[in-house]
Every structure is written in C-alpha cells, then in structure tokens.
Symmetry: D2
Subunit: 402 residues, 4 copies
C-alpha cells in the first residue's frame, strides 16, 4: 500500500495521461446513467471496465505491484485520485474507493496472515467488497469515544450487539469491520473499543435498510446501510490488531481516508467547473450573447478556479508531508484540508447549478448527484466544526505558555 516509491517520478506524466484518457473515454460516457441506477444492473459493464484497467496496468493504483497494483506512493496517488474523482464511478472501477481502500490499509498493516489471505487478497483483486461499521444513530459521530455497540467476550468468541448506520456500501459487501466496545470499563476512554472483522453471512448480522439519503436509497456500492448486530458471534481471531486498539486504528484509518476524500473532491470540482464553463459558453441569453459575458458568471468562474487551485495545493502539500513525516505530523494539515476543501466543493457545485438554471436541478446532469451526495462531505469523517476547533486548539497550545 503506497510503497515508498515504485514508479519512477519521470514516468508519472505519461501514466496520468493514461488515466485521464480512460476516465474521459470510458467513464464520462456512462457515469450519469450508472448513478441514475439501478447500480447492480451496471455491474457487468463495470467489471469489464475493471478488466480493461487491469490490462492497461492501471488497476489499483495505490497497491504495490506485488499486490497487483500500480505501486504509486501517496503523492503520486493523489494525482491519480483527482483524475478518478472526476467521475462518480472512477474510484470504484479502479478499486481504490472508500470504504474498501481504508479496509485494505487496515488489513495490510494490522491484519493477521489468515485475515490477509482470506479477506485482503480478494479485496485487493476486486473480487469482493467490504464495509466499515462505526457510526451509530444514537451517538454523535463527531466523538468516536461514544459507542453503544458492545462486543462481549465469551470463551474464544466475541458476541456483538449494536446498531450502526452509514455503513457505506454494506449492500453487497462480503465482510465488515465493526467498531465495538470490548473494554467498556477501561479508564482511558480511548482504549475501550476494538475492531472486529465480521463476515456478512453471519446470522447475527442484519442489513436493515439502505438508508434513503437525499432522495435515494441507492444500492450496492452506491448505498449506505443501517445494520444491526444481534448476538453476532465471531471468533477472537477476527480481532484486528489488539483488544482496546480500536480507537487508535480508527485514527490510523481516518487520517489517510480524509486525504483520499479531499483528492476525490478536487476531481469533482474540476468536472463541475468544466460543466459550468461549457454551459456559460453555450447558453445564449440573446442570439450571440452568451451567459459567459455576464460578470457574475465570470466572478464565479474566477473564484472557483482560485479556490480549486488553493485546495489542490493544500492537499498535495499535506500528502507530501504525510509521505515524508507520517500521519501524526499532518494532523493539523488534515483538519485544515477537511473543512477547507469540503467548503470549496459545495460552493463550486452550487455555483455550477445556478449557472445551469433549471437544468441544474434536474438529474439530467451530474450536478444534482453531487449536490445531494456530497452535502455529507461537510459532515462525515468529522464535521467542519470539529475540525476547526481541533485545529484552533492545536495552534493555541503554542501560545498558552506565552
């Protein structure tokens, strides 16, 4: 996963060009239809595209070559990720989409050999999908210490009981990693939870529904599950890492996860920006007088371009620093890009909708999909407010002694 450096830097431009071409030629023509669904009906086509990606040596850009991937380091991957982000099916086709990519990272770093051979391998190959059950409807997601899900130890098993939601892509997944309290009495609240791998054919597990989100329940990869664990029994060997490490692993998982989201958002911004410019040029207010001549439209284009550029430079800077210095060194940077880029994303989408007029609110363009499905960007993986406070408090620590 993100090996130090497998691909020589000078080969990158040509590789990026290949991704660009693939996305433009193969994904742009179909992605609007795919998100209109039903998603499962497109699985054959998507599998063909995955095969094509493999053939071209583009599949799984984040994995090392020995794991069947392209072997890009984090900074290189960031650039690919932006390209893939331009299509809502980009990361899926190249098998580097959340939540699978986070689970691959977790199992790669902390999985036992058995876990890796049974679950990680087929996941890396794109043969199965997975999900991650952490958020709970009754607990504030912004505080991962609060959990109602409990995994009680009974002999060589854990017995899990709990209620989760926003278990992304649960529908159709083969296993989930679930966050549950194993040591609810531990003094340190950050050592109370553990991560457990649960195969989804377990009778104690139930997918209650694909949550209707912003007008759509969706299905399969494009869905978010509400799930229940009732006396769900798994062997102790399904523990990821050690008992009580759940919170630490979650942090480990969420840091890069947030970078990945930001990369993808920039890709969305670029596609949306492109749609906005095309519309501004092609829409005639009067014969020969394009919408693009209006100064308000020009303002939006200029501001969007500036903000997207700022976003990209900040994300790339964070990726570079993380690659060199590790995840801990970029805690502030990650909070920064999380709220900054999410805000830019929503502003750019909103402007593009306004430029499109009535067409912008229909489902005839991708704008509606992203307007709805990325509103969550300012909420998931820590809402804006939590990241802002965290960043500020971290900065202010340097001042408190003065």
């Amino acid at each position: 996963m993100h090996p130090a450096q497998n691909i020589p830097q000078e080969a990158l431009p040509q590789l990026l060009e290949k991704y660009r071409e693939f996305v433009k030629e193969e994904l742009f023509p179909i992605d609007l239809k795919v998100v209109q669904g039903p998603f499962k009906s497109f699985l054959p086509i998507l599998n063909e595209l995955r095969a094509k990606a493999k053939e071209l040596g583009l599949f799984a850009p984040h994995l090392s070559t020995q794991d069947g991937g392209v072997g890009l380091n984090l900074v290189q991957f960031a650039q690919v990720s932006e390209i893939l982000g331009q299509s809502p099916i980009g990361h899926y086709v190249f098998n580097c989409a959340a939540p699978d990519i986070g689970n691959m990272e977790l199992l790669h770093l902390f999985g036992t050999e058995a876990q890796q051979s049974t679950w990680l391998k087929p996941l890396q190959k794109g043969e199965i999908r997975s999900c991650f059950a952490m958020t709970e409807p009754k607990m504030p997601g912004s505080n991962p210490v609060h959990l109602g899900t409990i995994a009680h130890r009974e002999g060589n098993d854990y017995v899990i009981n709990g209620h989760k939601w926003f278990t992304t892509a649960a529908d159709g997944a083969k296993f989930t990693i679930v966050m549950a309290l194993t040591n609810p009495e531990a003094e340190n609240p950050y050592q109370r939870a553990s991560m457990l791998l649960v195969p989804l054919d377990n009778p104690g597990y139930q997918l209650i529904r694909n949550i209707p989100i912003m007008g759509e329940a969706g299905e399969d990869y494009l869905s978010h599950g509400e799930v229940k664990f009732e006396n769900c029994r798994v062997p102790v060997s399904n523990l990821i890492g050690k008992e009580g490490q759940g919170f630490a692993l979650a942090q480990e998982r969420l840091g890069p996860g947030r970078i990945h989201h930001c990369m993808r958002w920039i890709g969305i911004c670029e596609r949306v920006f492109d749609l906005m410019c095309k519309r501004a040029i092609s829409r005639q207010l009067d014969p020969g007088k394009a919408l693009a001549e209006k100064q308000t439209i020009q303002n939006w284009i200029a501001e969007s371009r500036a903000e997207i550029k700022a976003s990209r430079l900040m994300v790339m800077d964070t990726a570079q620093k993380m690659q060199e210095l590790g995840a801990k060194a970029v805690k502030e940077d990650i909070s920064t890009i999380k709220f900054f880029v999410a805000d830019v994303l929503m502003k750019v989408i909103d402007r593009a909708i306004q430029v499109h007029g009535a067409l912008g609110i229909t489902d005839d363009t991708l704008l509606s999909f992203w307007y709805r499905h990325e509103r969550g960007a300012r909420i998931y993986d820590g809402p804006d407010e939590v990241h802002k406070s965290a960043l500020a408090r971290s900065i202010l620590k340097n001042y408190s002694g003065k």
Copy 2:
C-alpha cells in the same frame, strides 16, 4: 380572489390559530410520509383532509366566500400562507398551491364566462388540478420574451407546436395554460405571445416524463412535467385575454406568484428552524452537554432568527403595499424579496442539516426534501441574478439624470 376585505381584522388572530392547529395536528404527523411517496397513494387521505378543511371554514383562504373560500385579503393570506408553508402539503390541502392559485387568479381576472364555468369553478373547489406551460428547455427562462412554442391560427383554431418543461404538476392535471407565440412578427417583442387553455386530453398534447429533479421524478402534484405540443389544436375561444397579451398576463401572474412563494418559504424556514432548535437541545455530545451549548450552533440559530424576521417583515411590507397600490408599485419590492428570501431559505436549511449531522442528509427528516426541492427557489420565477440586476437598474434610473 383576495377581495378587498371580507374578514374583519379582529377575527384574524383566532383564524390563524385554527390554521396553526390544523397544520400541527393534521399535517405534521403525515407530511414526511407523503413526500416520501408515492404521492398518489395518499390522495384519499389528502381528500379527507380537504373535506375537513372545508368543514372548518378554512378551505381556499385566498378565495372570496362567494367562490367558496375564506375571503382573505393579500396581507391576511400572507399570514396564513406562512403557516401552511410549514408543511410541504399545506398549500395543497387548502387548495392554494401553485400553479393552481396562479391559474385561478388568471381565469378569475381574464377568463371568459365559459372558461370560468368549465375550468375555474371545479379548480376552485379542488375537483381538478391544472398546470402552466411556460419554461422551455432550449430557451433561457430568465427572458420570457424568447419562446420556441408557436400557436398558428387556422380558421377558428390555434395549432400549437412546442416543447416545454418544468410544467409543474402536469401529471394528473386536467388542463394547462400554455404560453405560445401567436404573433411572432410583432414589432414589440412583448406582444408576440398569447396564453391558451389546453385540456390535457387533447391528442396533440403529451406528457413526456416527470422530470427527475434532485433525485426524484415524483408524481402528481409533486412533479414537474416535460411536455410536448404537436399540432395540438384548440378553438380560438380558449385564448385567455387577448391575442398578444401573453407577456402582460404572465407578469400579472408572476408578481403575486413570487409573493406567494416567499410567504411559503418563510413557513419552511420556521419549520426548519424549529427542527434545528429541537435537535440542538436534544443531541448530547457528552452526557449532559447538549449541542446547543456550542457557540457555532448558537450563531446559526441567532443568524437564522434574524434573517427569518427580516424576510417576514419585508414580505409583509410588500404584501401591504401591493394590496394598497397594486402590483406595479411593488415591482422593486418583489425583486427584493425574491432573491433575499430565497437566499435566507437555503442558508437556514443548510445550517439545520449541519446541526443534524448524518441524520440531516437522510430522508428521515424533511430537511432533505427541502434542501433538494427548494434549491430551485433561487432559479424559478427569475434567478437571483436577474432580479438583482433588475432592481439595481430600476434604482439607478433615479440617478441617471443627476
């Protein structure tokens, strides 16, 4: 329609209380389910509610008593409209929803006796629904002079050909009023179009689709049609007003229409504000520590309250002035509230979503419905940018001589 004064002012508070109670007791418990649809399955329940409203003397608040209504003037109606706006089915149940209300006004003022007895009467009673076909996919809606739809005179008929969309609630309607060029060569571009009444069982008319908007095509009242007129033949007696008056009538129709939207939006704001406050109080970040204690949340509540209050005062001021001085006197005021209140609406909804966290983006509250379905508020009946420019140019006229 909005008679000068039928209801004595002192009776208003009690009447408003009745509307409040009806909305809270009868509509709030079911409205989320109704918008989740399918809408048609709820028609029996909604018809019962209409019967109840009639019984209580609350039905059709905007109509004179001789037309079966409550007889409220515009200012009184504004206050009722805000109350109804708190529920997405409020105006429908009380038969004062767009586009019917606009069509009632048109036919009341300009319809022939035959048109009134055949179409207006059952519309006023809520026995049929109607729609209004003006916006065209290929023309900028912000400029109503540009139309591609043509009504060619042949003997005693008009033959209509054209393509329209955002024909709200076409699905299930009995007739539409269509805007078409009857005098495309008229020197004055504002005298080229006319309004024609088309019964929707006309073989030349076709509902192509309910447009998927923000994730939902919807149906019946909760839908927006894309429609076609192909050699659609109607008798000359179906003309509303005179030939060439289409633009003038549209202005007549849109002015109050925009006030009605603004009133409704304030109702939405109030419901959303209420949801936001309830969530802020009930969501615990830590045991005993409610979300409401966070200053950011307090800022949003305070700013929302201020902006809603400003909106209401401006809308009421405009309604008052319109009632006293007529539609022309409030052209600037209407532009002002159109963009101001639409902006407030979207900001309040957005804050409420953020306060709700993950729940806010699900369809488990009304927030998602309004976030999606009111994004159009900044576009329909003239986008923000058009109203701002119109207002500014009107103001600047007073300066140009200086």
Copy 3:
C-alpha cells in the same frame, strides 16, 4: 423623553421633510470638512446651526415640548434619527447624540431634582456636554459585571479610583456618569455597582488622552477619552438612583441606546448607498460606458438595498414594540438588530468604497470616516458574538422543556 404621543401622527410627514431639507441643505455641504477637523474650530458654525434648528422647532426631537424638545415618541424619533444619521454631525446639531441622549434619559428617569436642575437642564438645552465612563481597558466590555473601578464610601462622600476608556466625548464635557463598584462583596454580582455623577473639574479626575482610534485621536465631541479617577471624591448626593442599581440602570440605558445606534446606522447606510449609486452612474470606464453597467456593481446595489430595507423594517418593528410593551419585551429584538444592522452597515460601506476605487480610500469622501469610525459598531454596546449567543440562548429556553 419620548413622551407617549405629543406630535399627531398626521403631522409627521411634513416634519420629516423639514429634517430632510435641513440635513441636506445645512449639513451635507459642511460635514466632510467638520469631520476632517479640528472639530473645535467648527463649534461656532455648529452653534449657529443649533440656533437655526431651535428656531425651526426641530431641536431635541426626543425631548418633550416642556423640556424644549419636539416631543416625538420613539417610533417617530426613529424616523428622524435615520435622517440625522445621514450626516456624521446630524445628531450632534440636534442635541440627540450619544452619550448625551443616554445621560438625559438616565437623569430624566432617575436623577434627583437637584441633579436635574444642575445638570439635566443645561444638557437638554445643549449648553453643556456630558460623557459616560463604563468600559475599562483591563476588563472585557462584553461582561459589564466585571469592573475594576471602586467607589469607596467615606462619610458623606464616595471616593472613586479606577481607570476607564472609550469614555466618548470626554474632551470638553462638563460631567461624566461613572460606573463603579460600591458593594464589591454583594452576593448578587448584578448588585455590586452604582452610577455616580462626577463634574469634570473634580481634581481627582483626569483625561489622560483622546485615544487615537483608526488613525485619529479627534477632539471634543468626536473623540473617545481614556480617563483616570484617583481618589476622586464626590458627595453621596451624586449617586444616580440607588446604591447597587448601577447594572440595572446600565441595562435601562443601553437598550434604547442600541436602538438609537441602529437608527443612525441606517441613516449612514442611506447616505453611503447614495454615494455608491452616484459614483456608479458618473464614473466612466470607457466613454459612454458607466461603471453602473457592470453586473457586480448592480449586485452590490441590489443586495445593499435589500439589506438596508430589512434593517429599517426590523428597527422600526423593535421601536414600535418597545414603545408599546417596554424595554424588557424587546430584549431579543434589540440583540437581533444590534448584530444584524451593524453587519449590514459595514458591508454597505465596504461595497461603496470598492465602487469608488482609489477615491474610496482617501479622506475626500465620508466613506473613509465611516469605514474607520463605525468598525466599532460590531464591538461597542456588546460585540456581535455576545448578542448572537444571548439571542440563541433566549430562544433555546423555549425548547429545553420539550
């Protein structure tokens, strides 16, 4: 002070017209020069204007006729105040400027007969000026409970020691009212302070400096003093109201004070708006192509107009309610207008500067004066943040039982 109703409502339009004319004919031609100062050199001219105002029956609009004023109630005064606010010397010339107006109100309501005859009478006639010493450099102004100034009782005297700043218009004033702790040990923190009247020729009082604010120390009415009380001895009879009532009286004084500020700010907005429109029309980008044709400029004009209108309606609504129901009933309303109108004020000024280009940052127009001297509007009498939190908490109280 603001008698219930002295002036018949139907006489108001004509009266307002007189104020408008006076401000336009007498103040607009000189006010830029006066604020450029030195202020004292303009006192003879300003005194002539006051005499003229008296002659015309316009002087002291807020005072009852028996006190030598015009006898306007609060709502009527609000309309005059907006007109006067268009000029930075308007309220001064008509003797209804802060801090004198607040002190007149205090002494009118709570002053002893002796205090009224010695201090209130000449203040009402405009023969002397006064100031109000409350804010302290070392204490957060947003929390009036925290005071470092102490008035120690010694026999029939209070001996005051303390350090104040932002004692507006101290330079040239004849007396100040000072807020000091007289009962520092009182259990209820709101009953620790009292208000004392201090003649400024008292040897224990010292004006340290006129604080340089935003580039200018100013002088006289247009200044803010930093002052010291060192063993400043005043007789017990100089107490305003009762011992321990300081906080209560301050609330009494600040409520209407905030309304007065808001009224004045709207006047500023209108003058600034007028400057902006004139500039937009007169500035040519190319021969025959005025700045006003730019859509961005039009946006600013439209948005400013909408926001000013919203501000006015809210302030008038608050004044009406206060007049009918008293100060307590409008606590939320006052917080609302305080932060809403201050924000609008700064936005309108900022846009007008941008429209003026380089000229806008010079002192050749009033824009620079207001940009600098009204930045404090978002801070004095409670910063935005305090009013927002107060409003939100007050609203949320209605929810806490639910």
Copy 4:
C-alpha cells in the same frame, strides 16, 4: 535583479532565520511607533537599521551581489518578503519596498547606461528614493489605456502636462517615472503611452499634497502624493525604453509587483494571526476562562490558518512558475493570487480586530494601521473585479471553440 540562482538552496534556511531574527529583534519593538509617525523623525533610526542590515549581508535581498544585494531568486525572495512583510517597515529597511523595487527592475531591464549610473545606482544603495506616477484622479485606474497626461515632443525635449495621484512615496523622492501619452493618435491604444524619468527638482513638477488616506496623510515613504506636471520639460534621453512602450513596460512592472504585494500581505497575515492568538489566550472573560475557549474565536483562528496557508502555497507556486517560465506564463496565476490573497488579508485583519474588541480599533496595535492602509489592497494594481473578469475570460477562451 532576481538573478537565476546566486544563493545555494541549502543556505536558505539559515538566511531566513537571520531575517526572522532581525525583524523580530529590531523591527517589532519600534514599528508601531514608526507608523504612528511622524515618519521623518525616525529616518535616523531607520538608516542605522539599514546599515546594520548591510553589515549582516541582508540588505537588498532581491539584488544581485554585484549590485550590492543578497542575490536571491524570485522564489527565495518570496520567502524573505513574507518575513519582512510582518513589519510595516520591513521592506523599507531592506530597500526592497514598492515603488522603489519596481523602478529598480524597470531601470535594470530598460534603463540606459546613463539612467542606470545616475538613478539606479543610488536607488539600489538606498541613498535616494523614487516614485511612480501612473494613476490619474479622473481616469479609471483599472484601465491603464486611459490617460489624460500628455508628453508633447518639442525638439529634444518632452513637455509633460498632467495630473496624477496615488504617486506613492512622492514626498521625499528624488525622481519619478511618469506614464504619459506620447503618441495619442496611435491606432493601437496600447502603443500610445511612454514612460519618462522626471527628477523631482524639475520646476514643472509639483507635489500638491500627501493625500489623506484613511485618516492620515502621512509623509515621506508612508504617503501617497497628488502631483502635477505643468509644462514639465525633460530631455528625450529621459525616456525609459522606447516611445510607445509605456503600456508594455507597465505590464512588465506590474506582474512581479503584484507577486511582491501578495508576499508582503502574507507576512501581514502572519503577524496579525499571531496577535489574534495571543489576545485570545490572554484575554480573560471570567477569571480562568480565556477568550480562546469560545468556539467562534476558534473558528476564526482555524479559518484564518487555512486561508493563509492556501495563500502562501498559491503565491509560492506562482513565483516558482514565473521564475521558470517568465511573466507571461503566469498571467492567470497572478490575477488569481491578487484577488484571493487580498481578500484573505482583509478577512484575517477583520477577525483579529473583532478578537481584540475595543483595543482592536485603537491605534495601540498595528491592526488599525493595516485595516486602514491595506483596504486599498483590493483596489490598487487592479481591483478584484477586474482580475476576476480577466481570469474568467482567459479561462473561457479555452471553451469557446467547443
């Protein structure tokens, strides 16, 4: 000037540390007093500091070593410039302040040998100061093609007549470069103007006034002159470059000039940010409860940090690109940073003022100076609106063929 590479990259960190130390130890303790003025009274101290800077090898960072400078390339200089920008006298002390730095660049690139030996050399050594007369009160500065100043050729002289303002630092300067029409009839409007060097002891030149800007006329380096040329005669040899090249040279001069401003603004942002954090930590709302605990304050700190970071990365990126590819390649980038960073600057200053409360609007901190003197940042060298439109139109050119 900005030689390709004189200082090895690895020596930079230590050099930057030296600048940081100098600015902190030598400038921070006095800069508030210096800007409070009168500036000329501080010239002896400032000259000592310049001597010290020379001794330490830090003087004139932008000049090559053979010209007596440090020899930094643009990217290296950018980093120094940010450090110097933290103090309002930083660039002055190190002799790299506008308008001198721009004039040095002009004369270095386009000056004749005589011009260089007479004017450039002493300018580079800091022995004299210069100014640049371009903006005119009657012409929109945003359109440099419009000029009223004319230089008429008479024999071997030009005779200049015109009226300029915002001739920064004219007071005390030895020469100006003036932009004047020499070929008013040239078909191409971009070839009508020329640049002429005018020694300021020329009897045809007059400094009318130091323009009062935001409350201060200032003097010397800290002033902006309004100047007149009346039959001001200079020999043809005072032409910079060729006749008709004025516009081209201005572009040449303004491009890097805008980068220099942006670098400096980021320095201001950092100092202001530091003041804001210190205040947040040290101000107690209640004993033991610092302002920093308020979430609104935390939001401002976080947002400011994010925006400053974005600004720095964009400016550095632009500097890097300009260094590698030249000024033409970064035209879009320069427009981008010009409006983006100016906006961030004003937002950060505004938040810091609000955090400081009453203190923030006094002249007792640097905040007031920058709030007033940098409001022009959104106007000079092209207002926001012009840069946004320019950027958008440039982007849209790529779309017009589609």
